[in-house]
């Protein structure tokens, strides 16, 4: 049987990158996302990974991280950091040529900016569904809302992004085609 530290390390290595990604999309900055992710895992470690029923620790840590993110947003401290380090967030998985990197970077910037236009609860629900592949029930547990609210938030987020991205990406396509 693995020790508790070993289990925690496995859990950390598994979920730290995805938690960072979630927070980065929520807040728009990498450094603050990593700070909050680390603090969230610190709290989990102190609480004890084994104290949670099977599968619950993951929901708990996303809930804690999201609450930290809410605190940051409400304090307004991220206002100065939002999108200042957007370029740092765009590290592609594989090496691309400069043109591809630029295009990918611009697309991601557009996505982040468009995400920012969503209300926080819609943004969180959509990211948990699309990026973390959580079910509606799991999202409701993480966000502390009902499943009906999750359904509505996700649908509204999709509709809003669909319209806004169509406009901005249409302009992007026109620009890159020149």
């Amino acid at each position: 049987m693995a020790s508790e530290d070993e289990e925690f390390a496995l859990f950390f290595n598994e979920y730290y990158p995805s938690l960072c990604r979630f927070l980065e999309c929520m807040l728009g900055g990498r450094s603050i996302a990593q700070d909050i992710a680390q603090e969230s895992f610190m709290q989990l470690y102190r609480a004890g990974l084994r104290s949670f029923p099977a599968g619950e620790a993951r929901f708990w840590i996303y809930r804690v991280a999201r609450n930290f993110a809410l605190n940051e947003l409400s304090k307004g401290q991220t206002r100065h950091r939002l999108f200042e380090k957007v370029v740092d967030a765009f590290r592609p998985a594989r090496a691309l040529n400069p043109e591809q990197e630029l295009e990918m970077g611009e697309r991601r910037e557009m996505l982040l900016k468009t995400l920012k236009t969503l209300p926080e609860h819609q943004r969180a629900a959509l990211l948990l569904r699309e990026q973390e592949e959580m079910s509606y029930r799991e999202i409701a547990v993480v966000l502390g809302i009902t499943e009906s609210k999750v359904k509505v938030d996700i649908f509204r987020a999709r509709n809003a992004l669909r319209e806004r991205l169509a406009k901005t990406q249409g302009a992007f396509v026109s620009r890159t085609a020149e």
Binding site: M1, A2, D5, E6, F8, A9, L10, F11, F12, N13, E14, Y16, P17, C20, R21, E24, C25, R30, Q34, A37, Q38, F41, M42, Q43, Y45, R46, A47, G48, S51, P53, A54, G55, E56, W60, V64, N67, F68, L70, N71, A89, R91, A93, R108, L111, L126, E130, Q131, E133, S135, Y136, E138, K151, I154, F155, R158, N159, L161, R162, L165, A166
Partner: protein, 390 residues
Amino acid sequence: MSCHWTTKVSLLIDEELSREEAAATAHHLKACAACQQVREDFLRLRRQLTSYTIEPNPAAQQHALRKILASDAAAHAGETRRSESTAVNSAIGLRGQLARMFRAWQHAPAMMASVALIIVGIIALLAYVSLRHKTTTDKRAESVAFVPQKDIGRSGAKDGGSDAARVQPSPSLPLPDKSVTPSAETGSRAVVKVKDKTGGRERVLSVVADRNARPREMRATQAGRETIARVIEKGPAQGNASTQVNVARGVEPASVARDSSADDVSRFERYASSAAQFQTTRHVEQAQLLLRSFRNARLADEGPASDIAYEKERSRRLLYRNIVLRREAASNGNLPVEKLLSSLEPILIDIANLPEKPLDDDIRSIKERMQRKNIVAMLQVNLAPAARFN
């Protein structure tokens, strides 16, 4: 363009509709161009969001981990905890209350004494319950009727009570060949060696059946590779009378006579069932973590290759538990769980069998297999409903 079906389209792509609603929505999609466009747009948005990947610096990630692990030592050195943030307080709930209770415990000897008394009482209660159940299962096992089996290797013993004479395989095990070698039998224990040939591989199973069974090693020799798996045989207390007890006694029970404590048996079976479900949930969670870690392992052509020794070791440990739980599910008729664990088992075997320095092709082939079977998603999907049983 708008259609009142667009909300259903959103639920459809998330697989959150019932079967009837999904069928009705799919039927509507065939005829509605507007909804088809909506669906395409939603799926395109999904691709954009999922393609947003980041790769944190591995060195920085490990540094963060070490910092967290080191913080525990500082806390144990007597450093007082700083107050929790409201975000954590709202999430910890009961856990926070217990932590505060334990802090108060340090300053209240009377509370210490009462807590110690409570703990002693709980231990005594658990001991009583386990003794009572042991008595109940002993009675149940003795009431099993024996029916001799045909065409199974015999050692010459003719009476139906000879434990070592015959072997009745569990539903999930292939029929053994006829080379059954009886071994020593003492009391309620029977050691049986069975040669098992499945898929062209020959394995020698050394099975010890005992009500308080201990795991024994099963060495599997395959061409060029060795697989070590453990088979644990449980007594009838775990509800596996049709398998493990028969392995011990080599018979098929024609009927199970119920003694006067049938209610106790049913209560214990429910307890055993919920305990098995909890173990399965925990196992699926750990398997999912392992497979995700293995899936993220870097190959040599992608940069510094990841060391997968930990995944190999972990896979070995999970493999023996997977075998146990799969058989448990099979004997309980839990087909979905059995199917899930059957899909998982070959992956665990492959990872556990990797050499010390595996080739990229070996790792890649396992990853591709995982992707084809979509095993990680299967585990995640099954984890949610399984967790409801806890």
